[in-house]
Symmetry: D2
Subunit: 383 residues, 4 copies
Amino acid sequence: MTSTPSASGAAGSPGVAVIGYAFMGKAHSHAWRNVASLRPGAPGVRQQVLVGRDPEAVAMAARQYGWAESATDWRAVIERDDVDIVDVCVPGHLHGEVAIAALEAGKHVIAEKPLANTLGEAEKMVATARAAREHGVHSMVGFNYRRVPALVLARRHIAEGRLGDVRQVRVSYLQDWLADDAAPMTWRLRRELAGSGALGDLGSHAVDQVRFLLGQEVTAVNALTHTFVRERQGVDGPEEVSVDDAAWGTLRTDGGAVVSLEVTRMATARKNALGIEVYGSNGALRFDLESLNHLDLCLDGSEGFRRVLVTDQDDPYIDGWWPPGHVLGWDATFTNQAADLLAALAAGEEPTPSFEDGLAVQRVLAAIEESAARGGSCVDVDA
Amino acid sequence: MTSTPSASGAAGSPGVAVIGYAFMGKAHSHAWRNVASLRPGAPGVRQQVLVGRDPEAVAMAARQYGWAESATDWRAVIERDDVDIVDVCVPGHLHGEVAIAALEAGKHVIAEKPLANTLGEAEKMVATARAAREHGVHSMVGFNYRRVPALVLARRHIAEGRLGDVRQVRVSYLQDWLADDAAPMTWRLRRELAGSGALGDLGSHAVDQVRFLLGQEVTAVNALTHTFVRERQGVDGPEEVSVDDAAWGTLRTDGGAVVSLEVTRMATARKNALGIEVYGSNGALRFDLESLNHLDLCLDGSEGFRRVLVTDQDDPYIDGWWPPGHVLGWDATFTNQAADLLAALAAGEEPTPSFEDGLAVQRVLAAIEESAARGGSCVDVDA
Amino acid sequence: MTSTPSASGAAGSPGVAVIGYAFMGKAHSHAWRNVASLRPGAPGVRQQVLVGRDPEAVAMAARQYGWAESATDWRAVIERDDVDIVDVCVPGHLHGEVAIAALEAGKHVIAEKPLANTLGEAEKMVATARAAREHGVHSMVGFNYRRVPALVLARRHIAEGRLGDVRQVRVSYLQDWLADDAAPMTWRLRRELAGSGALGDLGSHAVDQVRFLLGQEVTAVNALTHTFVRERQGVDGPEEVSVDDAAWGTLRTDGGAVVSLEVTRMATARKNALGIEVYGSNGALRFDLESLNHLDLCLDGSEGFRRVLVTDQDDPYIDGWWPPGHVLGWDATFTNQAADLLAALAAGEEPTPSFEDGLAVQRVLAAIEESAARGGSCVDVDA
Amino acid sequence: MTSTPSASGAAGSPGVAVIGYAFMGKAHSHAWRNVASLRPGAPGVRQQVLVGRDPEAVAMAARQYGWAESATDWRAVIERDDVDIVDVCVPGHLHGEVAIAALEAGKHVIAEKPLANTLGEAEKMVATARAAREHGVHSMVGFNYRRVPALVLARRHIAEGRLGDVRQVRVSYLQDWLADDAAPMTWRLRRELAGSGALGDLGSHAVDQVRFLLGQEVTAVNALTHTFVRERQGVDGPEEVSVDDAAWGTLRTDGGAVVSLEVTRMATARKNALGIEVYGSNGALRFDLESLNHLDLCLDGSEGFRRVLVTDQDDPYIDGWWPPGHVLGWDATFTNQAADLLAALAAGEEPTPSFEDGLAVQRVLAAIEESAARGGSCVDVDA
């Protein structure tokens, strides 16, 4: 019999602290718990500490999600010697404060998307990240859909020119959780906390995918936003909804593509439908997040869309998972993301997407908001 | 043995002349040839005369398509006593001239879409149609997709409130016949002949469907158009493409809905993909012209989309066709359209869509062009 | 102005008589009415006479469907000099009588499928057809799904070896019109009139497709049949259902393929779902009649299924129809069938599928019934 | 700061040993590592020891998959006091030996499917399980697809009568990994090791689902099996394939349903396509494992199939996972299975499916083999 230290206690493995234990904290915990299983021989991590405000609730979550400890004071945690990576899963308006402090404490940081609620804060985060990078301290923003195998494959085909010149992109992110007028008020519908509505939440993924898939920058936008239900029932009576329910944009890229974008929380019958279509001069592709293992491909001028189940051993990430035909879940995107982050850190390289990528997305979103405020007129995106 | 006059020779049946024998002339001929079979006991028509410029070619087409005669002079034909209905299938820039002359000659007119290439011409057509109507002479514009059974069913569900308040509509019309840079120059790519590109050709259908399905008017638009391939090979060398390859718009309606619109001839792998999605507060629906017998329905707050094959006897038009499950083709939309026109004429009523409907679509398209010319700024649609 | 004889009156065109004016008579009338439009320059037909038992009803149908005359005595009609082709659309138990008489009267014959209700009758029909052929009188059985463009394309790919060796075929034909226990008794559920139930009606199409697509003969079968609802309400009270509601079979071919077959009228929610899957050593394909313009193709060892809209100009039959992306309906299969019949007759060739093909299908169906009667044991198909 | 014991070290949590660390051992490890996160407050497990023959390889696997230790002697492991549950992931011909020994050592056992390679061995396992159960020692067979949320939902709808009486079931399990003639010989193709081919591997899942979904027993079968490629290249030259490549069956149940079954490893372009269709007198449903979060439902006599994304909080298992629209992967079925096993053990109840369920499946498979050996004749299933 051979005694082996468990993956989560491996000496020399980096220690991780996750700040936040709600939906995103749970998803990131899942990733840290499973990341070692993806890569034979790769270093695992120590699931060191889960941080939250409510001591009992976070303690229970820590037990449930496999953490060695829980804590309530994130400032103390980021100073700990046994913490090497700080994973920021707090609400968006707190991203900057936590991420900057952690970087300044010399910890690698991964921050959930969107990078920040305001452009100013995002810029400060980038400045800090750049300074930290000089000292070998790295950072990453958590656009997890960059780790969907089908989308990585899509990007590869585009980069290899198998669609020809990309001309039109259609990207939509449709959800329905606000379609019901009677859906109650939440903090997500208050501008001061959430920054924006569907635009920041869903539009940030959509814009990131455009940049990721095409390897191009958005240079100008025309856009509109709209709030269909302007008042919702709060705990103490009706409250104003101060963010958008939906946003529409037409984006131009520095590669000459035109992108139509539509994001909404009002699309009855659509649960989590991030839909992407890319049309090039010699091919096309389609993707739908609700069927995230599938990709429709028309390559090299062939006819019609070929529907591919992206689960072969040579498909992105799959060699760490299961045999062909055994589909992955949404959670796998986080596990893949954690693996990529660890690999970059082990190699002493900056992981992607960087905070600069996060800022680039924020600038597009800001241009969208400005265009919307100006009745849909064209607005250039700051470089 | 009972001797019966053939449907096309029925005494008292209206006589039809089709002006134009290309793609649309062929499709309309198909409709006139088959319309009698749709409605037991309904009067048929006399397929009197097919008109074209090339005497031999039109004579052969007439034989092939079931016409009693062919002719080359449309002006003479519209004066004939044995012609009651003039069906205008000439290119768009000639619609006005033929339709107005025919109406003034006291003939009922059906004109292919779009109503005209210019707003001015469309307005003249409407004025003439109104005057003619006073004398019991009727007119119709040929938006044949109003006769897709699935779309008529969609409209019915929306009108009955089974989707609740309609908030977002996504309408796209994607084709790929210009995706190849080497596709040659045609008259359809010259502004002076075609009026516009994808916008007029595909956008007119898209806008008409918005009006048809929602029963609402478009009041304001933001839009862009783009020509990806600015020069194509003509017979005598490269020529400038002076119309749009694609157009994008965000439309608002007087019912409070927001519509995203995208039409293009550059969507590699999409052949004839008129896609419509309607999201309401309590339901949703989806349609794709490439599967025109299917409709995806979420009604009355139920869960997910129910995929319905719209071929039941109580579905629109189906009682004249085949038993459940026996699908219709694209051509059936013209036959249904002809049947509706005949029924309206028999009842002495104005058929729909009227020239006014055609003009309303043109006004939206004109606003789209104006917005595009102004960099995407908001433009109101003239009432 | 050029005066042209109408297609249906073209001198020298063959004259057609359709015997039967119910569902199939209507569909065949549609085909004869439209066949001339499919092939520029090809001879049309004279729609001479429609035959039925009820003089008033058949006269109205004749007017509606474009026939010059109606008649009630098919024996007189098949003797007429102005009738060249007799199209047999009567119920199956009368196929033999009418077809044999017509052939003996020197008329070309097309008979609806299945060829006959009994093997003995089918054999007599084949004997008569062979004798007639000696004198240049031809015959055809109406397996119209051989004229679905997607299935012709499928056959072509299989014949060219692009699927490799075909090993497994899955063919099912699922309808739901008897799923409801309360669906009333009809003649189709009486063995003495209908011969069999789902097996003959749907199974004949399924077996014909296997022979057509693979170009192989079925050599042995194991099969079961079942009647789920043994009694249904007739006009005068409950009656026994004496045919099968559903049938299942495992068929082997002389090419080494194994075919699973399932046909049923009890498949709730399926309207007209003839589904075919073919798996070869180097490719595969899928088809569903409810989406009859689509074909899913995996050719030459490529990955996944490519979904093709079979509407390109070089796809089977399409050059006679519409531009790419404009889908065909179920009725087009009959029009294509009529065109092929006319082309064969014009060339003095025997059209396909022949009565021998019809008999071959009957022999497989008979073997299926025998196997079912013997508890599913293996039964060889007579050559 | 609160110090919490990690889930995997929780005092009082049951200790688990997994025997086998290949594909199934990895999947089960994944489940044990994640099971605690599914149920707030539920006890987790100790991932105690992973067992395999190669000491270095199993040690690396143990580290990677989160186990405290590795070991090579399963007989020693099942005697350990810190092991409460033995999870049998060895090849099928060893299931009996390990499971029986572990049960006799007083450990709860979960054994991968199929329960055993021979009926005799399966019967011994059931006898042992029954004896153990008397002493509070429980057992389970790992038909993980019973834990697909969509299939649990399907079963619920069937049980509640929302499909009416189930009449026809179509179940197929199509894979393509042997479609290529050049695919090499493996132990899975040798009867003495694998027991059978597609039949045992895929057919066991298919038969279990029939029993699970319908709550009915299979009483009689007609079946065939076939080996398309009879020889494959082994390490030392060509070897005989002694198991089936594909199997077909028609099964009858004690509830009056007829089931068609087809399983194969030769279905080019199909990766892991377990397809299930259930047709009842008043509804129907469809499922495809390659899209395992979706279920097509026709309930209570409604029209067409409603496509549901089974990810709502009240869908089976989902409350332990993610918000609506965030899809699960294939691996989730094992995590759900582990959670159900732990819940049953905590309640002192026998988990399902039991070894008896596993034996019932084996009896159906044995009847299929017997029928195939007798040319497809009907064979009753022993009760």
